[in-house]
């Protein structure tokens, strides 16, 4: 039930209009960071204020909302934001990816394929992909304007030179529509290929940094790389211990002092659906060789 003391979606109508206007511009220029007047929200920066403001601006009475945090529907951030919208809008909420029309996400893209009828809203901590390389905001704006993105490759070069491989595993920089260099919010690079030509509308909100950007449906998204060091996603030697899936993003949990690890799907809805459909994993933690124990035995 909606709490009648609040305006629909918590924000006032003018603020929602302002944000929608910024969203229109963002969709018109894929990957371009549009500044907007980010409002104070009733929770702290870093808890998804950007994403919540976007969701509040686009949500309607007919919408069905799903909120995930690192893939899971049942963590603090996801539960609280879902409850926030249930109270301030009264819309239906769900944990099923396929039933949702708006999915607000913190740092994952659901495993189930999205459709044209869905909108994915990302919570972004730092929208500027160049910020660790070029501290001056005025300079990064010029670099975006002139599409001078060699510097990002300098960072990747440095990774290969020092570590033998591109070490960035999350927030892996992408080029949207072959024009704007964009930070995919810190999703794991495993999810980067899902952004490419995705039928769903993808909106990104950074509340503290006061920026909105978007990837419209069916837009080309390319992860940066070198010709002789192509982009690759993570792979695991194990399948999910609960549902046995071999192609989802896995969380690794250490379950005892001996270093046994349990691998489970990060996307809780995907894992649950598979188990309902009768898929079963090993239900076992994996014994990994622990470098420290091996050393201890040798001495």
């Amino acid at each position: 039930m909606m709490d009648e003391n609040y305006n629909f979606g918590f924000l006032d109508e003018r603020t929602k209009k302002m944000i929608r206007r910024a969203l229109l511009k963002a969709v018109a220029i894929p990957g371009y960071q549009v500044s907007f007047g980010s409002r104070e929200m009733p929770f702290a920066y870093g808890w998804g204020t950007g994403g919540v403001q976007i969701t509040a601006s686009i949500i309607g009475q007919e919408d069905v909302l799903k909120v995930i945090d690192q893939g899971a529907d049942d963590t603090t951030n996801a539960v609280n934001i879902r409850r926030f919208f249930a109270r301030t809008t009264g819309v239906a909420t769900t944990e099923k990816t396929t039933q949702a029309s708006i999915i607000q996400t913190r740092h994952r893209i659901p495993e189930a394929a999205l459709t044209e009828a869905q909108t994915l809203v990302y919570q972004v901590p730092m929208p500027e992909p160049l910020f660790r390389l070029e501290p001056r905001r005025s300079e990064t704006i010029t670099m975006h304007a002139l599409a001078e993105y060699g510097l990002m490759n300098v960072k990747l070069y440095e990774d290969i030179a020092q570590l033998g491989t591109i070490s960035k595993t999350y927030d892996y920089p992408v080029l949207v529509n072959e024009r704007y260099l964009t930070s995919p919010s810190p999703i794991p690079k495993f999810d980067n290929p899902k952004m490419h030509m995705n039928p769903a509308l993808q909106l990104f909100g950074a509340g503290r940094e006061k920026r909105i950007y978007a990837i419209p449906p069916y837009t080309a998204v390319r992860s940066l790389d070198f010709e002789d060091h192509p982009f690759e996603v993570q792979r695991w030697d194990h399948a999910c211990a609960l549902c046995g899936s071999g192609d989802s993003f896995l969380d690794e949990m250490i379950v005892d002092d001996a270093g046994s690890r349990l691998f489970v799907c990060s996307d809780s809805d995907y894992c649950g659906e598979r188990r309902e459909a009768g898929h079963v994993g090993t239900q076992q933690a994996v014994q990994m060789s622990n470098a420290l124990t091996v050393q201890g035995n040798a001495t």
Partner: protein, 268 residues
């Protein structure tokens, strides 16, 4: 002869506000540079040398006069025409600064990217031009390190761990990797000890010769001018008081200030 003119400066000047009054940092400077020619700009501190260099490199806009540059026109694969830098777009100027020009700063820290390795510093310009092959970038970086006599084993070290002379060499390599035609140097040898200075000057002289580079070198060290430059320009209080062939100016100074400058050099 006019066809291969590289840089042409006509009455260039720049003024800054000093207190509430405008003050000309340099004024009425005119000269030409042809490919392969080295010009030294000498003068005391505050005489407008560095301001002039910044005008030439389009880092500052002229308040009067103009700087013309012979822009390479790749589309027509011919030497382009001489254009006023003030007419070029920012994108074009940045492109020029990245490809056709080099800028060697007085303090290597200003010209280098200190948080990435030496190899990445050399590769940066190539990556900015769209080079996306790690192996090629790396072999280019190695060959340039060899050319500027840096130990190739240090390719993955941060510039912070280099000595002052090595940082200056790295900065030169980083600038020359795109084969620029014109290099600006702002007192490249100050802050280095004498033996390192000598080796660096030797290197610069060799590179200028090999690559047919034109260079504008700002310095207050007359020995640097004598060793490297074909022609020199003496500045005082923002004005050019004397210009001509290096040997002529140093051996037969005409202006009282130049005479003072030449006579105040210590000879051990």
């Amino acid at each position: 002869m006019n066809d291969d003119l590289l840089l042409s400066v006509r009455g260039a000047g720049k003024q800054f506000m000093r207190g509430s009054r405008p003050h000309w940092a340099c004024r009425d400077v005119s000269f030409d540079i042809y490919p392969g020619e080295v010009l030294a700009v000498v003068g005391e501190s505050g005489s407008g040398k560095s301001t002039l260099l910044r005008l030439l490199a389009a880092r500052l806009a002229c308040d009067e006069g103009s700087v013309h540059y012979n822009v390479r026109d790749e589309a027509r694969a011919a030497l382009g025409q001489v254009v006023d830098l003030a007419d070029l777009s920012e994108a074009r100027l940045r492109w020029l600064a990245r490809t056709d020009w080099g800028f060697v700063e007085q303090h290597a820290r200003d010209g280098l990217r200190m948080n990435v390795s030496g190899g990445a510093n050399i590769g940066e310009r190539m990556m900015a031009l769209g080079d996306r092959h790690y192996g090629k970038l790396r072999s280019q970086a190695l060959s340039w390190m060899e050319r500027v006599e840096l130990d190739v084993g240090r390719i993955d070290d941060l510039p912070d761990t280099y000595s002052g002379g090595m940082q200056q060499r790295l900065q030169i390599a980083r600038n020359l990797v795109t084969h620029p035609r014109l290099v600006f140097m702002d007192e490249p040898t100050t802050g280095l000890d004498v033996s390192v200075q000598a080796r660096l000057l030797d290197l610069v002289r060799e590179l200028v010769d090999q690559l047919n580079l034109a260079a504008v070198i700002v310095t207050h060290d007359l020995a640097v001018a004598r060793l490297l430059a074909h022609r020199m320009l003496v500045m005082k209080d923002g004005l050019v008081v004397e210009q001509g062939l290096t040997d002529r100016v140093l051996d037969d100074p005409q202006h009282p200030y130049t005479q003072l400058l030449v006579s105040s050099v210590l000879t051990p």
